[in-house]
């Protein structure tokens, strides 16, 4: 994998990759991609893709239900002003 490709991928994955990181990841990603290329050996034309294992479609009534843990959820926020979660300025 080229360095540019790695940087684009890291950007899409929202990861900061330092120069030292990039060297390690380049090697590790290349090793896996080379291994993945083995998949080309198997003829799979005409086979449908398995995207999920449970194929029956299921529905349920769309009814509101209390969660009961709102305060505990908020307590996990890294920075808070009363019941608002603080983030750096957007603009």
């Amino acid at each position: 994998m080229e360095r540019d490709e790695l940087n684009i991928t890291a950007q899409l994955a929202r990861l900061e990759v330092s120069e030292a990181d990039a060297r390690r990841f380049e090697a590790a990603v290349a090793q896996m991609l080379e291994y993945f290329s083995k998949m080309r050996e198997l003829a799979v034309d005409g086979l449908a893709a398995t995207t999920q294992l449970v194929e029956e479609n299921r529905t349920r009534p769309d009814e509101p239900e209390g969660f009961g843990g709102a305060d505990e959820l908020l307590a996990n926020a890294p920075e808070r002003e009363e019941r608002f979660i603080v983030i750096p300025n957007v603009l």
Partner: protein
């Protein structure tokens, strides 16, 4: 004493509880299987109720939610996250009287095979503290093998319940995909993973499974549990397909001398236990690891996108804008292996690469499922190894992350096909436990319990050096 009795009285007799807890803490200081061990923490909100598991303590892998324990997933990013809710599988066990006593160590987000990739502790194998307990549910397996709890929950995405169970000499059960709710299991690869059970006796798994399985409105991939009808009537010998081990699967699939010895012993023992053996071939075996990692990483890259340091988790405080906040928080909070899998998954899903990787992997998945349909038309169960080697040394450089991935060849099959599988101990070789696994058709869990139970009569799970029945040693 009947199985379970010594555990059932635990929470109703203070002196037993104190003795067990003091002993468990002492033992756990040696193996670090629990990230948190607080036996009475859930009892204030959830007192012990009457039921078939009344008062039975159990461990829960720390990627499964138990209110009000932490839910760290072994990740620095979630080191202070406290779960405001409880996973369905755990809640059902509580409803049957069992008590979650703590959270067990794991490879970060379940990504690893050694439990060395936890941000918080390195769990040791109760058989030999210089060796890994396997992973990613290594804390659960080590805790059970040491006798700290009679059973523990884990999660199995590519073998993460069965492999550590085999490394620690206990039973590891991965149910049919969709039979146990994943609500409250922090998602890594949603189409592959299930919650599973680790125990030192088959009877525990037999008792636990009916409690945790079944439809859950909170997980739409769950199905109503309909046990598969036996192929023929009871009493006849079970036909076991023995996976033909040739050169397929590559070098990494080659069994170590210890595992080969265990494999030989299992093959020798089975006919006398009422199993009829026949050889089966799996032409897709060579491709399963590639396809598995493409799918697992792709799903991981999507599932782990939620960890952004905004609403919860460790945050990079100096970020100037939200975009930087997310990038820095993820980069600092997530470990190397997790980042690698996110990068791989993001790459294989990028436009232009999807057909080559993701779509092809999903087609291989279909080919693999067809292989199994063909095989299960002829046999009741398949016997295969769990992992190519026994528990390796902590820090062993020959078992680098790449080699560990290739070694998932035997376990990832069940996840790719959604099939139930169970690992069971077959022998001790050079002082280390060796396990094999049975795989069964969907919803044929009863066959797994029957087969592992028969083998257990011949060879019960051995006691690890730390194990104690009276919590006194």
């Amino acid at each position: 004493m009947k199985n379970g009795d010594r555990w059932a009285a635990l929470f109703s007799r203070t002196e037993d509880l104190d003795r067990w807890e003091a002993w468990a803490r002492r033992v756990d200081d040696k193996i670090h299987s629990f990230l948190e061990l607080e036996p009475t923490r859930t009892l204030e909100e959830q007192p012990v109720v009457d039921g078939p598991l009344r008062g039975t303590p159990f461990g829960v892998k720390d990627n499964i939610a138990v209110r009000p324990f932490r839910l760290s997933c072994g990740s620095r990013l979630l080191s202070s996250f406290v779960s405001p809710y409880t996973a369905t599988a755990v809640a059902r066990l509580q409803g049957a009287g069992a008590v979650p006593v703590g959270k067990t160590n794991l490879d970060e987000f379940g990504m690893g095979s050694s439990t060395q990739l936890s941000a918080f502790a390195e769990t040791c194998n109760p058989w030999d503290a210089t060796r890994v307990p396997g992973g990613s549910s290594g804390g659960s397996a080590a805790a059970v093998a040491a006798g700290l709890v009679p059973f523990a929950l884990g999660s199995d995405t590519g073998g993460s319940v069965r492999q550590p169970a085999a490394f620690c000499g206990v039973y590891g059960f991965k149910p049919t995909y969709g039979s146990v709710s994943r609500y409250g299991l922090v998602a890594y690869a949603s189409s592959l993973e299930t919650i599973g059970v680790i125990a030192k006796e088959v009877s525990w798994i037999r008792r636990i499974f009916p409690v945790i399985r079944g439809l859950d409105p909170r997980d739409h991939s769950t199905v109503e549990y309909r046990p598969r009808e036996a192929r023929e009537s009871k009493g006849r010998p079970l036909t076991v397909g023995i996976l033909k081990l040739g050169d397929s699967g590559g070098d990494a699939a080659r069994l170590s001398p210890e595992v080969r010895a265990g494999w030989g012993k299992a093959l020798e023992a089975l006919p006398a236990l009422g199993f009829r053996l026949t050889e089966v071939e799996l032409p897709t075996l060579d491709y399963v690891v590639s396809a598995y990692y493409v799918i697992a990483c792709a799903e991981a890259s999507a599932n782990l996108a939620r960890f952004d340091g905004v609403r919860y988790g460790e945050r990079a405080p100096e970020a100037d804008n939200p975009e930087e906040l997310v990038r820095l928080s993820r980069s600092r909070g997530l470990g190397e292996e997790v980042k690698l899998r996110i990068l791989l998954g993001t790459y294989v899903l990028r436009s232009g690469f999807q057909d080559q990787y993701y779509l092809r992997a999903q087609r291989i998945r279909t080919a693999l499922r067809r292989d199994f349909e063909r095989i299960f038309a002829e046999v009741d169960l398949i016997l295969l190894p769990v992992y190519p080697c026994a528990a390796f040394k902590r820090g062993d450089e020959t078992m680098d992350p790449f080699t560990q991935k290739l070694s998932d060849v035997y376990t990832s099959l069940a996840n790719m096909a959604g099939l139930p599988a169970m690992s069971f101990p077959v022998s001790i070789e050079s002082g280390l436990p060796v396990g094999m696994q049975f795989m069964a058709p969907p919803f044929a869990e009863e066959l797994l319990f029957e087969a592992c139970g028969r083998y257990e009569e011949h060879y019960p799970a051995p006691d690890s050096p730390l194990f104690s029945r009276d919590w006194r040693a």
